[in-house]
Structures are given as structure tokens and as C-alpha cells.
């Protein structure tokens, strides 16, 4: 059947070795991109005409916010694949995603708050994007809480996968409702925490940082994935081989 290549590709030993081999190919470019983007963002980019040097927080805030959503989406897609085709490797991917995504969601919230204080004069503003980010953090915490609370590992995988899929259906609805709610109550004097209009020397480091973070995510995911595969694997022969290296 035409599925055999797919199953061989998705077989745990194959994925384990592939993850091991691929990690440096993502880790080093990620490191180089992040360093270059740091230099570009902190030194080369000119200050914003309105926010001065304060706008440089965007190089940390926006990529973190991007990560929080991108990782959640990855997790939900992996969970759906795992549920539909009963693929253990996909469960391992979903399990690896959650702590990474949650940590970057926290970073996005903290940097958003640090950005808000000089711009709005308050540490927390019920800005629609920050509020959505906070709800996203709750979704991550719920996912990890559910996974941690179920003792049987297989059931934990499958139950939390259902939650991840339910969550991703809700993310756009939550974001829409929060934006709608905010538009009702917005005081006109408050400046939106938004991207200032970015000139090219400002934009390039931002895109580099986002790409760097994305590659970094893949690298960390590959490392975590190996651990999660080992936990789920029963066949001893290749584990013995892998552990001896």
C-alpha cells in the first residue's frame, strides 16, 4: 500500500535518528540569526520618531507573540494528526510543544507589559492583543495541567490532544471576541500598543528575529522530541542501540 513509506518515515527509530541529525542544522542558523538580529535591532535600526528607543522592545515582544501562536498551532496540528492516525510520534511532538509555547507566551506578556508602562503609563492595559495572549497562556496551562493530571501516559496523550484541537478552534473566536469587546470600551486617548510604522532598517531585524526564533523552536522541539519518543517506546532493541551512543 502507498502508506508504507509514510509509516516507515514516521517510525520512532527513524524519527529519533533524524531528529538527532537535524538538530544542529536548525540550532546554529537560529543562533546566528538571533545574534545578527540583536545587533540590527539594538544598534543599526534608528530610533522611532514617536517612541524613541522604547520601540526596540518590539524585537523581543513581537517574535515571542509569534512563537506563542505558532507553537500552539503546531501542537494542535500534531495532536489532530496523532488522534486521527494513532501516531505516537505525533503525540510526542504535541507533548514537546507545550512547555516551549507557554514559556514564550510568558515572555510576550512580560515584554508587552514592559512596553506598555512607558507608552500608556500603566503596567497592564486591557489591550486586545495582550488580553488574547493572557488567555492563550491559560490554554497552555490547562493543556499542561490536564496532561500532568492523567497518570496513564497513553490516555494523557489522547485526552490532551482533544483539548489542543478544541483550543485551536477557539483561539480565533477568542481573539475576535476580545477585539470586539475592546472596541466597545476603548478610550480614544489611549495609544494602541501597535507596531509603529517600520522603515526597512527597522523591519529587517524584526523579520530576522522571527525567523531565528522559529528555527530555534524547531531545534528545541527536536531535542525534546527525542526524549518524548523514548518515553513512549516499548521495543527495546533500538533503544539499547540509541542509548549506547
Amino acid at each position: 500500500m502507498s502508506w508504507t513509506w509514510f509509516h516507515r518515515l514516521a517510525s520512532p527509530p527513524h524519527i529519533y535518528r533524524l531528529a538527532q541529525r537535524l538538530t544542529p542544522w536548525f540550532a546554529w542558523p537560529a543562533g546566528a540569526l538571533i545574534l545578527a538580529a540583536l545587533y540590527g535591532g539594538l544598534v543599526l535600526a534608528p530610533p522611532d520618531y514617536q517612541q524613541g528607543d522604547g520601540f526596540r522592545i518590539i524585537y523581543m515582544h513581537a517574535p515571542s507573540a509569534w512563537m506563542s501562536l505558532m507553537v500552539y498551532t503546531t501542537m494542535a496540528v500534531a495532536a489532530a494528526v496523532a488522534l486521527i492516525w494513532r501516531m505516537k510520534v505525533a503525540h510526542a511532538v504535541a507533548a514537546s510543544c507545550a512547555p516551549i509555547g507557554a514559556s514564550f507566551t510568558i515572555a510576550a506578556l512580560v515584554t508587552g507589559s514592559l512596553w506598555g508602562e512607558p507608552m500608556w503609563g500603566t503596567w497592564w492595559e486591557w489591550d486586545p492583543r495582550l488580553t488574547s495572549e493572557l488567555i492563550l497562556l491559560f490554554l497552555y496551562l490547562g493543556y499542561m495541567g490536564l496532561r500532568g493530571a492523567i497518570e496513564d501516559p497513553q490516555r494523557a496523550d489522547r485526552t490532551s490532544a482533544v483539548l489542543a484541537v478544541v483550543g485551536i478552534v477557539n483561539v480565533p473566536i477568542i481573539h475576535y471576541s476580545v477585539t470586539w469587546w475592546n472596541s466597545l470600551h476603548q478610550a480614544p486617548s489611549v495609544m494602541r500598543l501597535g507596531k509603529p510604522t517600520l522603515s526597512t532598517p527597522m523591519l529587517v531585524p524584526l523579520l530576522m528575529m522571527m525567523l531565528g526564533f522559529t528555527l530555534f523552536f524547531v531545534a528545541v522541539l527536536l531535542v525534546r522530541l527525542r526524549g518524548e519518543i523514548l518515553v513512549r517506546e516499548r521495543s527495546a532493541s533500538w533503544i539499547r542501540e540509541v542509548l549506547s551512543t
Binding site: R86, E151, D152, P153, Q154, R234
Partner: protein, 209 residues
């Protein structure tokens, strides 16, 4: 050429870190009865639950009339009846009500049919009492009534004779024999003897290792 009945091939099942079923296999033809025995924790209940498609095995196949049951579970479920070691009765409902709501989700039943089934298991006297007041043996009898009401081919019974008096055990034997005679299949897990002639029963012994 598809064979009729239930076939289990090389079933491996894990519960967490425990390798509970290690390559279990058997074939149960129409009119056949398989008695699964073994000490506590040997995986009798797990085997039964895997055989009705509730547990998804790590490897191995489960065939009904030659077709993999996991390809179409609802159809497979509509030919089987599983009774666990506790009858699923609500304390606040009477035996009759329990039976109506339980079997009614699968088969249309009239009052008379229900009454006849209750009489068959000797429940007429207490069929209107809330299940809360019933003894373990009486609850088991309600489960037997459910079994006799639902004329599906495959019965999966977990400890069918527990808590029953001698007469109740004999009733289990009679019900099974009638079922086998009309071409039904029975898979029963118990460490007691089944109240049936030995010649009618295949045995499958599960061990710890």
C-alpha cells in the same frame, strides 16, 4: 474466504508500563463458548474490553466474520453485549426503569417483553424497588435480564456468576446454553467454573508472565 465468528490474533496490550496481554490469540466460531481463566491481574478484564473494541491494542488484530472490527466499530458494537463485573444500574431508578433506559437505547421494547424478562430472572417481586435497595445478587440478575432482552450474537461476560446463589448460577448456564443453541457466541472471563457441561466450553488460561 471469511470465517464466521470472532477471531483474535496475537493481541498485545499495554496498560501504562505493564505489558498486560502478550500475544493472546483465539478463534471463537458460532455456537462456541470461550472460558477465559487466570489469577487476578492476569488481564481477563483487559482482554474482554479489548475484544469489544474499548481498548485499542498495541498490536494484533480483532476480526468479526473475517473483518477488522476497528474499521467499523459501531457495526461491531451493534452485534455485541458486554457486561462488566458491576451492572450499570442507577441507585435512584427501579430495576424495571433501569432496564428500560439501558436496553431502550439499543432496541425497542414493550412493557410485556420487559416484564417477561424480569420474570425469567425471578425479579418480578422486586422490579419496582429502587436499585439502591437491591442486593449484589439481585443487581446481577437485572444484568441477566438485560442480556436475555438483547438478542445480539456476541456476549462478553465478566464474572457472570459472582454473587449469585445456586439457582442464579444455574440460570446463567441455561441462558448461555440457549444462546449457543441459536448460534450465539459467548466469551466469559471468570476464575470460577462455568455452570455448563465441560464439553461445550473452550478454555483459555491467562498467566502473569
Amino acid at each position: 474466504m471469511p470465517r464466521e465468528g470472532l477471531e483474535v490474533e496475537n493481541l498485545h496490550l499495554w496498560r501504562g508500563e505493564h505489558h498486560v496481554l502478550r500475544g493472546v490469540g483465539f478463534a471463537l466460531p458460532r455456537g462456541g463458548c470461550l472460558h477465559v481463566t487466570g489469577p487476578n491481574g492476569a488481564g481477563k478484564t483487559s482482554l474482554l474490553r479489548a475484544a469489544c473494541g474499548l481498548l485499542y491494542p498495541e498490536s494484533g488484530r480483532l476480526l468479526w466474520d473475517g473483518r477488522d472490527v476497528h474499521e467499523d466499530l459501531p457495526t461491531f458494537h451493534s452485534v455485541l453485549m458486554y457486561i462488566g463485573h458491576e451492572a450499570p444500574l442507577k441507585a435512584d431508578l427501579s430495576a424495571r426503569e433501569n432496564l428500560r433506559y439501558w436496553i431502550g437505547t439499543r432496541r425497542r421494547i414493550g412493557r410485556d417483553t420487559l416484564g417477561a424478562a424480569l420474570q425469567r430472572v425471578g425479579a418480578t417481586a422486586w422490579s419496582e424497588r429502587p436499585a439502591r435497595t437491591l442486593s449484589a445478587g439481585q443487581r446481577r440478575r437485572v444484568a441477566l435480564a438485560a442480556l436475555s432482552l438483547l438478542l445480539v450474537p456476541l456476549w462478553l461476560l465478566d464474572e457472570p456468576t459472582t454473587n449469585l446463589d445456586a439457582e442464579g448460577q444455574q440460570l446463567v448456564g441455561t441462558l448461555i446454553e440457549e444462546h449457543l443453541a441459536r448460534g450465539g457466541l459467548v466469551l466469559a472471563a471468570t476464575h470460577h467454573e462455568l455452570p455448563l457441561p465441560r464439553s461445550r466450553v473452550q478454555r483459555l488460561e491467562l498467566t502473569h508472565e
